[in-house]
Symmetry: C2
Subunit: 157 residues, 2 copies
């Protein structure tokens, strides 16, 4: 009785800009509900396009599909989107800020590295000296700091 055309998976995929295999995958993992069928084939109502858009945006914002599922469950629940959205965003923001800092450090290191003419790591300040002390895991991250715009070791070192 609704005048909406039912869409095939191919049409949905084209309109939403995703692959059909992704849509089936989302259904497999419970992110989208299985639609009705006609002759064994999936038939979608246009509403699914909004859901796929939602998934795409949330994904771009850094959420994993598991987390997006939590958001969707929130939308469907009585309390609405707000609560899971706030708690997941709070948490994700911390991760993203860490990523941002790491990425900035990477960029700084690479900007020096592209000017580097060193023949070996030993003579290059981009690679600190190793071997004296035991390192705890993740120490390298601290090491990709570069002081100047140059990778030459200072004479005194």
């Amino acid at each position: 009785m609704d005048g909406f055309p039912e869409l095939t998976i191919g049409e949905v995929a084209k309109r939403a800009g995703v692959a059909t295999s992704s849509i089936r995958y989302y259904e497999r993992i419970g992110l989208l509900e299985e639609p009705g069928r006609s002759g064994g084939q999936r038939r979608y109502e246009p509403e699914v396009l909004g859901k796929l858009g939602f998934i795409g945006v949330a994904q771009s914002a850094g959420f994993k599909l598991r987390e997006i599922k939590e958001l969707i469950d929130g939308v469907d629940s009585a309390d609405g989107l707000g609560a899971p959205m706030r708690s997941l965003s709070d948490q994700k923001l911390i991760e993203v800020e860490a990523l941002l800092e790491r990425t900035r450090a990477m960029k700084g290191w690479l900007e020096v590295a592209r000017e580097c003419g060193c023949a070996s790591p030993e003579e290059c300040a981009l690679f600190p000296e190793f071997g004296e002390e035991p390192l705890d895991a993740g120490t390298a991250l601290k090491m990709i700091r570069v002081d100047g715009g140059d990778c030459r070791r200072s004479p005194g070192e």
Copy 2:
């Protein structure tokens, strides 16, 4: 004849701050050469600590192990580290700058999202409307822009 103690894989792992399984993995993929053995067990010269440190730093800078292998092959070649370092860093810098921009966009979106009280995506400006036009892949990325500090839709929309 050298006075260096030969190290077991466990000692190397401890000093370098990596797992023994990672060291064996690096040897499997040709990133480290297989060391000499005593009674079937690997024995390393302290020099390997520098190589592991090099790998760690390069990894922190965003290089994949395949790329690090290229760098190491450069070190071992006549031309030295410089040439592969420059070309790989140039290339990686482009990727990292893109990542940086994406990460900043994610951060902006999340900062709005954590204040969001919307009950559903339809009423939330964080999620644009979908369904009218076919989208090309990757369009969602453009959509995670937020104008103000608020996710409420403007009345006129």
